[in-house]
């Protein structure tokens, strides 16, 4: 058992930490957000040059063969910077789907493009009524003279407005919530019949609503004809990545709050000298550390091939992250007082990001229900 980072992981951490510290100060981020894409083109180039976009791919594909722990290292730093660039959509979701679902030839053709920053990806899966049920796909794919015709709509597709290609799920067969028959396509958003409406999200990122009306795609765009188990694994990896991002954001809220308590003076003394605020800060610390522990657990378990064990662990982590983040976020605002309410100050932006993370791929209660129905984490020792 060893929680230490390897030498390579340490180097990776140092470089992403430095990137965020040097280039992602709160004022810099505001500028990036005002660019047309909603993020910084120059920053995207820099992330590319650092090789981060190739993280999940083998070296022969232009990557460096990283796993969930390396992803967590990057996402933790990005959480501290509230990074806007479509790393999660392109590399964690898109890269994960490519790696797990695509044929060797498709992977061989596309992974190097992703790694070199030329191909941004997004994943359109969730629909208006599916909420957190990954099997709930109503969008249809009808075979028609060697092509597929897609009809339906995809909701809140993260960075779907700027992606060069979009993974879309559509039902090839089966009832609406059937586990079998979910097809995974990789389509060009310029395809006739595909529309996308981009918009900002609450946390300053971007997403799109995507509609598919008689959208005709080629048979070669079908990546998998029974994609649900793959999607579940990729979403589990994505949740582990979001857990790490949330921990980074929570750490920043804790740091900002602590700094504020030490400098803000009222009644002639630093407010951090008041015991009631000290105790609440300690409870924030406990919540952050418990979340950090579960984010590590998620990173280690994201690679687990037994889907039940993996899902239970990921669910447990998402519960802890959701609950810790809500506590830490609310307390960070409260302990700051009025300044915490202002859009000009950083803490509220972290609060908004972790609040959105809870709503992604299952909130704390959804995952608690799943974990509970599976019998929980602990049982009798055999």
């Amino acid at each position: 058992m060893d929680f230490d980072l390897s030498e390579d992981q340490r180097l990776l951490k140092d470089s992403v930490d430095r990137l965020v510290a040097d280039q992602y100060q709160f004022e810099q981020r505001k500028k990036y957000m005002r660019e047309p894409a909603g993020y910084s083109a120059a920053m995207w180039d820099q992330i590319t040059e650092m090789g981060l976009l190739g993280l999940p791919f083998e070296e022969t594909l232009g990557g460096f063969g990283g796993g969930p722990v390396e992803t967590a290292i990057v996402m933790d730093a990005f959480g501290r910077g509230l990074v806007l660039e479509p790393y999660f959509a392109t590399v964690v979701l898109g890269g994960g789907l490519l790696r797990r679902a695509a044929s060797a030839s498709v992977l061989g053709a596309l992974a190097p493009k992703v790694a070199s920053g030329k191909l941004k990806l997004a994943f359109g899966h969730v629909e208006r009524h599916s909420r957190y049920n990954l099997a709930d796909v109503s969008t249809t794919a009808r075979k028609d003279s060697g092509n597929y015709v897609l009809d339906g709509a995809k909701s809140v597709v993260i960075h779907g407005d700027t992606a060069d290609k979009i993974f879309i799920t559509a039902r090839l067969s089966g009832e609406r919530r059937a586990r079998n028959g979910v097809g995974l396509f990789l389509i060009d958003p310029a395809t006739a019949g595909v529309t996308r409406r981009g918009y900002p999200t609450q946390d300053g990122q971007r997403a799109a609503e995507i509609t598919l009306t008689n959208a005709r795609v080629s048979a070669g765009d079908l990546i998998s004809d029974n994609a649900l188990p793959i999607i579940e694994h990729v979403i589990d990896e994505a949740i582990a990545a979001l857990c790490a991002e949330a921990v980074g954001a929570m750490q920043s809220m804790q740091d900002l709050t602590l700094e504020y308590l030490k400098t803000r003076k009222q009644f002639g003394r630093a407010i951090g000298s008041f015991q009631v605020l000290q105790h609440r800060s300690v409870d924030m610390l406990v919540a952050v550390e418990q979340a950090r522990s579960m984010a590590l657990f998620a990173a280690v378990m994201a690679g687990e091939e037994n889907p039940i064990e993996r899902r239970k662990a990921i669910s447990a982590a998402k519960v802890q992250i959701g609950r810790s983040a809500r506590h830490v976020g609310q307390e960070a605002i409260q302990l700051h007082g009025g300044i915490g309410m202002t859009n000009e100050y950083a803490v509220g932006h972290y609060f908004k990001r972790v609040t959105m993370i809870d709503q992604l791929y299952g909130d704390a209660d959804t995952h608690l229900s799943y974990l509970a129905a599976q019998g929980g984490l602990f049982g009798k020792v055999a």
Partner: protein
């Protein structure tokens, strides 16, 4: 980063698992599982079994029977012991006075006390708290005046756990009333049979007798029973209190309670279905399991870190172990009581010693007393509010 144990660690875990589940009598482990009080003989028997294997004083220096184990081995040892419902070695002996004597005592005092302390030939109790000195321990007033080759001790200790079983008590006493609070305190070992000592029980809200008041009225203590130097007792007490870092979370014990709660919830009914199938109940339990898993991971982080940190330095995460561990232990006693239902009501401690059959299922009678009793967990050893004060200062720098 690798959360898997090495083959050697797994072999060690399996050895520990087998040992705790076969060498310690089932009757004792059943009592621990149900939260029944152990007799003095139970505690001594269990400790001697551990000591015979050399697994009692693993935290002591090797020359006095300690083990040069890795922090992972210590973790696995504690986890398996707790999960097997094996009694922890008498804490006053093994976690408290033993390490202090081994660290600060003279060679004579080590020879005289350490082997007997390890084997529970001496049953120790702890004389720290006083009626006016709880969280503010350094304000203690029990005084020891040097007269020739003796100390004359006068005063009162309180919350003295298992003083009724104890052969000896280790006390913090004031030897210099003129010095600053922390600087006039000494660490003194006192034979409980010495004339002038009176032990009075305090019955707690669960109806049990765990704690006592101990009165000292002109008690004569040989000066050779002083540990280390006079007026340095506060340093030794701080060493004692800072010693226990990871076992304090009691993750293994909480795992055992969860397993027990699941067993019992399958026997009780909520409507037509077993309680364990109620989604409301499942979710309440799962919520605690998530917290416990997080705590276990936090503990493993601390354990992993201990190998690298200089001795005496602590990972900041270690300070949350008691805070979170205590609350989880308490939540599980609540859940256990909820599982049992109406049969938590009969109060059956007055029945001890007679042969009437117990009322209700045999697992029911201790559920409510354990719930009441476990309120202590967030109070003893520095209340959770004191823990927060410590963390705020030492870790957050507030």
């Amino acid at each position: 980063m690798d959360l898997n144990f090495t083959p050697e660690e797994i072999a060690f875990r399996d050895e520990a698992r087998h040992f705790f589940r076969t060498a310690i009598p089932q009757s004792i482990r059943d009592k621990v599982a149900e939260g029944e009080g152990l007799t003095r003989d139970d505690m001594i028997n269990a400790q001697r079994i551990l000591n015979a294997k050399g697994w009692c004083t693993v935290n002591w220096p090797v020359e006095w029977g300690g083990k040069d184990w890795t922090s992972v081995q210590v973790y696995l040892y504690q986890d398996e012991m707790q999960q097997a419902n094996c009694p922890t070695p008498i804490a006053f002996n093994v976690s408290m006075v033993g390490p202090v004597i081994a660290q600060f005592g003279s060679q004579e005092i080590k020879q005289r006390f350490l082997p007997a302390t390890a084997n529970a030939d001496i049953f120790w109790c702890q004389g720290f708290s006083e009626p006016g000195s709880g969280s503010d321990l350094a304000s203690l007033r029990t005084k020891a005046e040097k007269k020739g080759d003796k100390y004359i001790v006068n005063g009162q200790k309180i919350w003295t756990t298992l003083a009724q079983y104890a052969d000896w008590i280790f006390c913090l006493v004031r030897t210099d009333p003129t010095a600053k609070a922390q600087e006039g305190i000494s660490f003194l070992l006192i034979d409980m049979k010495t004339p002038g000592i009176t032990v009075r029980p305090i019955i707690t809200i669960d109806g049990g007798r765990e704690v006592n008041e101990v009165f000292f009225d002109n008690v004569e203590v040989p000066a050779e029973n002083l540990v280390g130097q006079e007026n340095k007792g506060w340093d030794y007490a701080k060493f004692l209190l800072g010693n226990e870092r990871t076992g304090i979370a009691r993750v293994g014990a909480s795992k055992a309670k969860i397993a027990r709660i699941k067993e019992l919830a399958a026997l009780e009914f909520a409507g037509e279905r077993p309680l364990i199938e109620s989604s409301r109940f499942q979710e309440k339990l799962a919520a605690v399991e998530v917290e416990l898993k997080a705590l276990e991971m936090t503990q493993l982080r601390v354990v992993s870190d201990e190998r690298k940190l200089a001795k005496g330095r602590q990972n900041p995460a270690s300070s949350i172990l008691k805070l979170k561990g205590s609350v989880i232990q308490q939540q599980l006693t609540e859940l256990l009581m909820e599982v049992v239902g109406p049969y938590v009501m009969p109060y059956q401690r007055d029945f001890e010693g007679n042969n009437e059959p117990i009322i209700g299922p045999d697992y029911a009678s201790e559920a409510a007393p354990m719930y009441f009793n476990y309120r202590k967990v967030s109070i003893y050893g520095g209340s959770n509010e004191i823990q927060r004060n410590i963390i705020a200062k030492a870790i957050l720098g507030l």
